[in-house]
Symmetry: C2
Subunit: 468 residues, 2 copies
């Protein structure tokens, strides 16, 4: 019997919460549980295999790019701060097994190799996601980096500082890909983005991705679409020197992999916990793992309900992870909270280009069995006559017959990104595009044309729905 | 019998629409009606007493301030463009009487003095609003200006160009007042704003108005609150030279009046059309004047339903006027559309300070018989570590017991103003603050902290509602 187990039994009035994963979801859950229950009632043990806690993974591209100069600026709460609040945080300690039947986890100290079992009354899984690593020659070469964790970011930054490269290749053209392209441009690299899809930003429909493509080329980024990376070439020292696709070879002093992530659910799977079609843990709306009354899960390792399609999705995004943690901590602490689901909102930028989406793309709608109309309109961020008014393209999907809003995609400059929030709230409320035409949105010439671009799209979509 | 009347009777298959007022609501209605019915079916006669049509009155401060250099940039559609679409537009022609019983209007050519009657089948009133002019000595002196119409703006600009003044006084500290303060600072004036209320921006609660006050002083504007203007002093040429309050005298080479507007409904009142408590025309949701099947009204001359309080309000705002015109034109043209009401959204800025509100202020809630909780939070426009993150204050009102969102006020820098749209949509949908805590808003470090400021306020408001 480990010391931990005896410690628990020696204080039988007190429950023990074990948290696996020390970033957004895990530490939010721990902190919120601690707010509701003091150390006399609840012992909290948190395991984190890396060096850091509670940091903004979404901020890594801006740190790598130099917009954020201090790594510590990305850390919302340090290990010391968590410990000061009575959380027994074990860094560099990897949980290797969950024993659901006996309510205990097995952990290994990464540095010393020491192993031990820790029992729990309540368990939170916040194991995050792992970047997809292509299975090809050279994928593990020096100079090839993911940017999932703060440790990853530090390694990439070390490479950039140590080597004096000119050519950077980003593999993948999703959010991470385009943000890393900007970061590497800011670092003075010649940047090539190699993308498997027909256009960058596959979270948009290709017609909107095309606008991103054109803007990226305008920024001096070489955009290669429809390209499958077949191998990475290395020099004699084992350092990457080129990225090879089916058609061509691109010189590379550094390679950043941004081809997506998968839920990190190996532990959960081995423990027999329920996983969904995307490999993420399945929970109820209180974020309790289905079928397990004393296990919760949140953040990048779970699947979430898409309120528009009614289907489960996997979305790795810090804002969801924080909400999950808040909900889990409240429930673990004896309160009540739920996470009703998402509508799929995301914003990003590459230099001054803002990219936003919410709801369903055309292919999502088709997959969900929905028939829809689409409209795409051009408008401006401010009144056309006001200085700084910049063009903005809004695409809107509405369901046939009902006219229910299904999705919005926006590409433009300043003021484009957060405009998607209008549609995110409308989707949550189940509004029709006809209802949206009457929305009372903020108007003044420095902020919007007299018809906000979202209203222009709604009017056109409503007319299309009516006439069909 | 006038020529107009005989023309109508000579073409009995064709209806005649008469529009009174050639700006946003009137010409939008005319244009939309024309889109739906060609000249063979519908004759359209529009009367406008000024020189211009379809212009952005909201843009006048930016033209006066020099951000917009050409007056014509504010004109969305010229008289010639309207005429080319088959609208018989009569500029500089003032309607002096509406004869509802005989379905005709009496008009006078402002320049020639010629008078005539024009009969109608359908009538649209879009007579706008008139600025409140204080009834005091000197109010009509040279150098004293309103900024309601493009003609007003031209006269003010002529004064600024002609005279070489140093001191400008703005009377009133609402949207027009603060926007004109910015404009006059941009023109190099020393600006004093004299305000009857305890804080500027009485469309906000005083605690939020206080933030505007402080920011205006930071911009070098002298802000005088609790001040009643008693008279304006003039020099021997009849030009204004000072503004006098109960306490002090402020030198003034130019005075701008921004003390609000009233619906311009003298004609309607004389014709026996129904007016509300705020002096605006009362319509149904199709914008038809109550009790009159063939008369519509829209824009600054009507009262609108406030969807949050359930009461009628008067709001002079171009974005509503355009929507009204669209709805009226659709109905006049044989289609069907409604304007369901407003939630009271407004945004403004003074230099880099952004000011936004939607829904009810505390006093509105009390007046509507609602009990409420308020929270005020401080957050930032972007992730705290991201360059350009600027502070933002969000105040939120929620109804007791139900937790229904009642209103939001935001004061901050870049990114503060249009964030109010999130709340505007939530108000329209009747969301509770608890529901809002789960909103899936766009998040990335350059756009928002991981908890958007509106979500932070919603969380705090929801907690307050739960605990009471």
């Amino acid at each position: 019997m480990s010391m931990s187990e005896s410690a628990r039994q020696g204080n039988s009035g007190r429950e023990r919460l074990v948290v696996i994963g020390g970033d957004a979801a895990g530490m939010s859950a721990a902190s919120q549980a601690r707010r509701l229950k003091g150390p006399d009632e609840l012992e909290i043990v948190a395991f984190e295999r890396g060096h850091f806690t509670s940091y903004s993974a979404c901020g890594i591209p801006y740190w790598v790019g130099g917009d954020v100069t201090e790594r510590d600026a990305l850390i919302a709460r340090t290990p010391e701060e968590h410990r000061a609040r009575g959380i027994d945080l074990r860094l560099r300690t990897e949980v290797t097994e969950i024993d659901v039947a006996r309510q205990r986890v097995h952990a290994r100290d990464v540095d010393s190799g020491a192993e031990s079992w820790t029992s729990y009354d309540k368990l939170v899984l916040a194991t995050g996601a792992r970047p997809i690593r292509p299975d090809m020659p050279g994928a593990d070469a020096e100079g090839v980096h993911g940017v999932q964790t703060l440790d990853d970011g530090q390694e990439l930054l070390d490479t950039l500082t140590r080597t004096r490269g000119r050519h950077a290749v980003v593999v993948g053209a999703g959010y991470i890909g385009v943000e890393m392209a900007e970061a590497l441009i800011n670092r003075g690299y010649l940047v090539t983005v190699v993308n498997r899809g027909s256009e960058p930003m596959s979270t948009l429909d290709p017609d909107m991705g095309r606008l991103v493509h054109e803007a990226m080329e305008g920024l001096g980024i070489t955009m290669v679409n429809d390209a499958e990376v077949t191998k990475l070439l290395t020099d004699d020292d084992g350092r990457v020197r080129a990225v090879v696709t089916q058609d061509a070879e691109y010189p590379a002093d550094v390679v950043v992999l941004g081809i997506g992530v998968r839920p990190e659910t190996g532990l959960a799977e081995a423990a027999g916990l329920p996983l969904g079609a995307h490999g993420g843990l399945l929970t109820d709306l209180a974020m309790r793992v289905r079928g397990h009354a004393n296990i919760w899960a949140g953040g990048d390792c779970v699947e979430v309900l898409d309120l528009v399609s009614g289907q489960e999705r996997h979305i790795a995004l810090g804002t969801h992870a924080n909400k999950h943690g808040q909900v889990i901590g409240t429930n673990v602490g004896g309160g009540y909270a739920t996470f009703p689901g998402v509508v799929g909102t995301a914003v990003s930028k590459v230099c001054d280009l803002e990219i936003a989406r919410t709801g369903l793309r055309e292919k999502d709608a088709r997959r969900a069995g929905l028939q829809y109309e689409t409209v795409t309109i051009e408008s401006t961020s401010r009144a056309g006559y006001y200085p700084g008014a910049s063009p903005m393209t809004v695409k809107m999907l509405a369901e046939r017959r009902t006219g229910r809003l299904l999705g919005v995609q926006i590409v433009g400059r300043e003021g484009a990104g957060k405009r998607v929030d209008i549609a995110a709230v409308a989707l949550t409320a189940g509004m029709t595009v006809e209802q949206m035409t009457a929305l009372d949105l903020g108007y003044a010439p420095p902020f919007s044309p007299v018809w906000d671009p979202v209203l222009v799209a709604a009017r056109k979509a409503a007319a299309k729905v009516r006439n069909l």
